[in-house]
Amino acid sequence: MVGTKINIKRRINMRKEEIKIKVLIILIVLLSLFYIGSFALAQEQGQVTPSSQIIAEATESTSQEIKIDTGDTAWMIVATALVMLMTLPGLALFYGGLSKRKDTLNTMTMSFIAYCVTSIIWIIYGYTLSFGPDISGIIGAPIKLFLKGVSVKSVAEAAKSIPEYIFIVFQLTFAAITLALVSGAYIERLKFTAWLIFSILWVSFVYLPICHWVWGGGFIGNLGVLDFAGGTVVHINAGIAALIGALIIGKRKDTTFIPHNLTMVLTGTGLLWFGWFGFNAGSALSSGGLAGVAFINTNTATALAALSWLFTEWIFSKKPTLLGLCSGAVAGLVAITPAAGFVNITGTLVIGLLAGIIPFFAVTKMKPFFGYDDTLDVFGIHGIAGILGAILTGIFADPEINELGRGLLYGNPFQLYKQIIGISVTIAYSGIMTLIILLITKFLTGLKAHVNDELIGLDESQHGQKAYNLHI
C-alpha cells in the first residue's frame, strides 16, 4: 500500500515536471521568435535609419587609421581567459565549498550554467544591446545581432587597439560572473528549472541595460560616474539581486551555514584573486601603465582586506580563521573593483582596510538583525563592499593616476554625488527588475524546491547525483 502511494506521488511529480519542461520549451521558443523578429526589424531599420548609416560610415572611414596594438591584444586575450577562470572553476569552487555537502553539485552547476547561458545570449543579442550604438542613453541598438558586422578587422568604440572579437568575449565574461555571483544567495532551495529561466531573464533585462548605462555609452557613464571594472554593473547589481531573491524565495528549512569543505573555498578564493587581475587590470583595455596601477591596487586592497577581516573576527568572534581570510579577500576584491584604475596607493589602503571591516558587520550583525536568508552572503559581501568601493572611488579618485577621475579629496566634491546617483539608480533598477523576474519565474516554476527535496539535498533531488561517493 505504502509502495503504491509513493508510486502515485512520484507519477504526479513526474507529470508536474513534464508540464514545467513544456512551459520552459514554450518560453525558449517565444524568446527566440522575439529576437529573430527584432533581428529582422533591425535589418530593415538598418537600411532606412540614417543614424546607423552614419555610424557604419564612421567605422569605415576610421578603419584605415585603426591600428591593432599587438601588446594590448595579447594582454586582453590573457585577461579575458583570466576572467573566465573566475567563474569556472573559481566561483564554482568558492560557492561549492561553502555550501552543504548535499547541495554542492547543484551550487556548482548554477555557476556553470550561468556561464553557458550568458555566452550564448551574449553573441545573439547581449553584446549589441549593451555595446551597440547608443539609443537615447538607455540601450544599445540591435544592429549587431548574432555579431552581424563584426569582422576580424573591426574594433569596438571603447577599445580601439584590440580586435572587437576579444572585446566581446572580455565583456561576456563579466556578464557571466555577475549572474553566477547572484546564485550564492539562492542556493540550497531554488529549483534548477527556476534558475535556468531566471538566468535568461536576468541577464537580458537587468545586466544588459545596466552594462549599457555604465560602459556602453548610456546615461550613467555620460553623467561621469566612475566605475573602473564593475563595482556598480557587477557587484552592486549582483548584491541587490541576491538580497531581493533571498527575500522572495524565502528561507531554507535549515539555515545553517557550515561550509562543507573549506579547502575548496580556499582554492576558489585563490582562483578568484588570480582571475581578478584580468578583471581589473584588463579593464584598462590596454597593456600600459593604467593596467599596471589597476593590478597593484587590486593586489594591495585584497591583501589588506583579508587581514582586516581576520583581525576584526579575531576580536569579535575570538578566533582567526581561513574562512575569514577568504571572505575578506573577496570583499577587498569587490571594493577595489570600481576604484582600481582611479586611485593611488593611499586610497587603495583605505579601501582595503574598510572592505575587511564593514562587510564583516554586514554579514555578522545586519543579516541576523533583518533575518533574510542570503545563503552565502552575496549581499553582505558583494553588495556592501560594492557600494563601499563606489563611494570611496568618488572620494579617492586621483587625477594623477587617471585624468578621467577626480574625487572629493582632489577638489571635486561633485564626484561623490555622481557616485551616489550611480549607486542609487543601479539599486533601484536591479531591485525592481529582479523582483519582477522572480515573480515571473515563481509563476512558471514555483521557485522553491519542495521541502523534502531541500532536505535530501538538491544534488539528489534536482540532478540525481551526489558530489561525494566515497564508499563506492
Binding site: 573576527e313 568572534s317 574562512l323 554579514v363 541576523p368 552572503d377
Partner: protein
C-alpha cells in the same frame, strides 16, 4: 567468548593498538570512525560570526573478540592507554558472544577468532 567495544578519543587509537599488540592479546580488530556525545557534550564552532553547537564529537570505536580469559587483561590495557583523565575519554562495553565463524574455512568458536 566476549566482544569488547571500546569508544575512545581518536588520537588515542595508536597507543591502544600498540598496547594490545604488546600484551599479545589480539590478532585482529575492527576500527570505525564514529560520532556521538556523552558527558563531554559538544563544542562551539563559529562561521562568519555565527555560533554553531557541534553536538556530536568524533570518536573511534574499536571492536575486538576475545576468549573469556583475555578480557580482563584487554580492559586493563585499554584503560591504561586510552585514559587522559578528562571528560570524553570514552567507554568500554562487554558483550557475551554466541559464536564466531571464519568464512574461509568454516571453523567455529574460539578457533575462528
Amino acid at each position: 567468548m566476549k566482544k569488547i567495544e571500546a569508544i575512545i578519543k581518536p588520537f588515542k587509537l595508536e597507543e591502544v593498538v600498540a598496547g594490545l599488540s604488546e600484551a599479545g592479546i589480539v590478532c585482529g580488530m575492527t576500527v570505525t570512525e564514529i560520532r556521538g556525545f556523552g558527558r563531554q557534550k559538544g563544542f562551539i564552532e563559529v562561521y562568519r560570526g555565527k555560533e554553531y553547537e557541534i553536538r556530536f564529537l568524533p570518536k573511534i570505536k574499536i571492536e575486538i573478540v576475545l576468549s573469556d580469559d583475555l578480557v580482563e587483561k584487554a580492559i586493563e590495557v585499554i584503560l591504561e592507554r586510552a585514559k587522559t583523565g578528562e571528560v570524553g575519554d570514552g567507554k568500554i562495553f562487554i558483550f557475551n558472544l554466541e559464536d564466531a565463524i571464519r568464512i574461509r574455512t568454516g571453523e567455529r568458536g574460539e578457533n575462528a577468532i
